[in-house]
């Protein structure tokens, strides 16, 4: 039934990675369709996500679901029996996880994008500050929600683990590109240890893009941006 589920994605996107991890955790077979960047968006993408025209889009029985956080919840609800729950089952813990997911998407994620795209020293400094503030808050959140367990969600990789963990490769790339330390072992010991465990999880090892390839891509993006700025 592989054709019943399709994922429109881009290999560089941490948002797409989130969905791949969740599908893998639930043992769902799917057809992956790599999408083009820039102007040449496919008919299928434009038809499936006319509002935002972005990946990821999950297509299940010909119906599209958009926005990675929403897709993760959908996967958890539809394929509940396929694997451990992605979202916490306790309503309050679920609310806390959802709060942090929303924080990551509203504040932390954009600060990483800011660090990738920043043109001036001021822009980069502001983005770095926001990113580090985010890590401080998440270090504290990890301490509170995990209660000594291996992941934010407990024994298994869960919703918040997937959402934050999907950005780890990009954080590595940004640290090299910008010559800054974001995930500092001295400042964020709990997150560092969590990150190692996350990266070591079988499903993540299988799916995370290679750091070298991502670095090459980031350099290309920067070169294109610099060329555009010079014109």
């Amino acid at each position: 039934m592989a054709k019943e589920v399709k994922l429109l994605g881009q290999w560089v996107s941490p948002y797409v990675l989130r969905v791949q991890i969740a599908l893998e955790l639930k043992g769902v077979s799917y057809e992956y369709l790599e999408q083009q960047f820039g102007e040449n968006k496919s008919e299928l993408l434009l038809k499936s996500n006319p509002v935002y025209k972005k990946v990821p889009v999950l297509i299940h029985k010909d119906r599209p679901i958009c926005e990675s956080a929403i897709i993760l919840q959908y996967i958890d609800e539809v394929w509940g029996a396929g694997g451990p729950a992605v979202l916490p089952s306790d309503p309050y813990e679920r609310a806390i996880a959802c709060f942090w997911v929303s924080y990551i998407d509203d504040k932390f994620g954009p600060s990483l994008v800011g660090l990738i795209r920043g043109k001036t020293d001021e822009e980069n400094a502001a983005a770095a500050e926001q990113a580090i503030l985010g890590l401080e808050l998440l270090e504290e959140a990890y301490e509170k929600s995990s209660r000594g367990k291996r992941f934010f969600g407990g024994d298994d990789v869960g919703y918040l683990d997937i959402v934050l963990g999907s950005s780890l490769r990009w954080i590595e790339v940004i640290e090299i590109m910008r010559g800054i330390k974001l995930l500092d072992n001295a400042k964020f010991p709990l997150l560092m240890a969590w990150a190692e465990r996350f990266r070591a999880a079988a499903v993540v090892k299988k799916l995370m893009p290679e750091a070298g390839k991502l670095m090459e891509y980031a350099k290309e993006v920067q070169a294109r941006m610099n060329a555009a700025a010079a014109n």
Partner: protein, 277 residues
């Protein structure tokens, strides 16, 4: 009158009968602001579920220790305190929480996973695109405002389309026969459209251009629980006029206008000076 400080709130409305799941009056407390549409979302949801709750009006120019402690990350209303577990913040998170914590009481979300995903998507769209576009109309004037109005119309067209031939075709409310989460989210911002039309003289919801959206909005506003939640229009008008005057008085030059619009759009989206979410 200081436009940043709202007039004294109406007497705290007593909630509906106690929930079958035994939420006593002191289990649930809502920190909110009378003019905040995000606060209204939660008040409306609590009323629809028939949950008793205590309401505490926050003075957003002088935030209470309770607010600062319970929402240290954003320091905004609404905050739902559910004893003994703790605080839930962010209005969409709160609405989901209410469904999860009180599953036997009138659900806010549909039961089918795909319908849930659709409702969530359009709630996201409302906060990500429509809300900021409406805020930008309020915070700007002249050419910048014309562009902002065009943006609002683009966004309303998308919703109108879903009502006419898309996901919500033939439905009375986005939630079906009764109000659901998307009605709450869209509805609790949409009364501002009429207010802003009056205060800024921009035409936002033309019943001829958006007949289905307009009809839905009137139907939504006529619901008892909604009438009970949304403040009287003259109070909203007074509040909006004061805020608008303050915004415009900062825009003496074109560049100052652009700067003020960016700041004000962020604040006035929440219509409580960046203090609700």
């Amino acid at each position: 009158m200081d436009p940043l400080s709202p007039p004294p709130p109406p007497p705290a409305t007593a909630a509906a009968a106690a929930a079958g799941e035994g939420a006593g009056c002191c289990d649930l407390k809502l920190l909110g602001s009378w003019a905040s549409s995000y606060t209204h979302r939660v008040q409306l949801a609590l009323k629809l579920k028939g949950l008793e709750f205590e309401y505490a009006e926050e003075d957003l120019s002088n935030k209470s220790p309770a607010l600062l402690q319970s929402n240290p990350v954003y320091q905004k209303v609404p905050v739902l305190l559910h004893s003994p577990r703790g605080a839930v913040t962010e209005s969409l998170v709160i609405l989901h929480y209410l469904d999860d914590a009180f599953p036997a009481l009138r659900p806010l979300l549909p039961s089918d996973p795909f319908d849930r995903a659709l409702a969530r998507f359009w709630c996201h769209f409302a906060d990500d695109k429509l809300g900021p576009a409406v805020g930008a109309v309020f915070a700007s004037s002249g050419e910048a405002q014309k562009a902002a109005v065009a943006q609002v119309h683009e966004n309303l067209k998308l919703i109108e389309n879903e009502l006419r031939e898309g996901a919500f075709k033939g439905k009375r409310f986005f939630g079906g026969d009764g109000i659901g989460i998307l009605d709450i989210v869209l509805g609790c911002g949409s009364y501002w459209l009429a207010v802003f039309e009056e205060v800024t003289e921009a035409k936002l919801v033309d019943p001829d251009a958006f007949p289905l959206f307009y009809a839905w909005l009137k139907d939504f506003e006529a619901q008892e629980e909604v009438k009970d939640t949304i403040p009287a229009i003259d109070r909203l008008l007074e509040y909006a006029r004061g805020l608008r005057q303050m915004i415009l008085s900062h825009t003496t030059t074109a560049t100052a206008a652009a700067a003020a619009a960016t700041t004000a759009a962020a604040t006035s989206t929440n219509i409580a000076v960046d203090s609700s979410t």
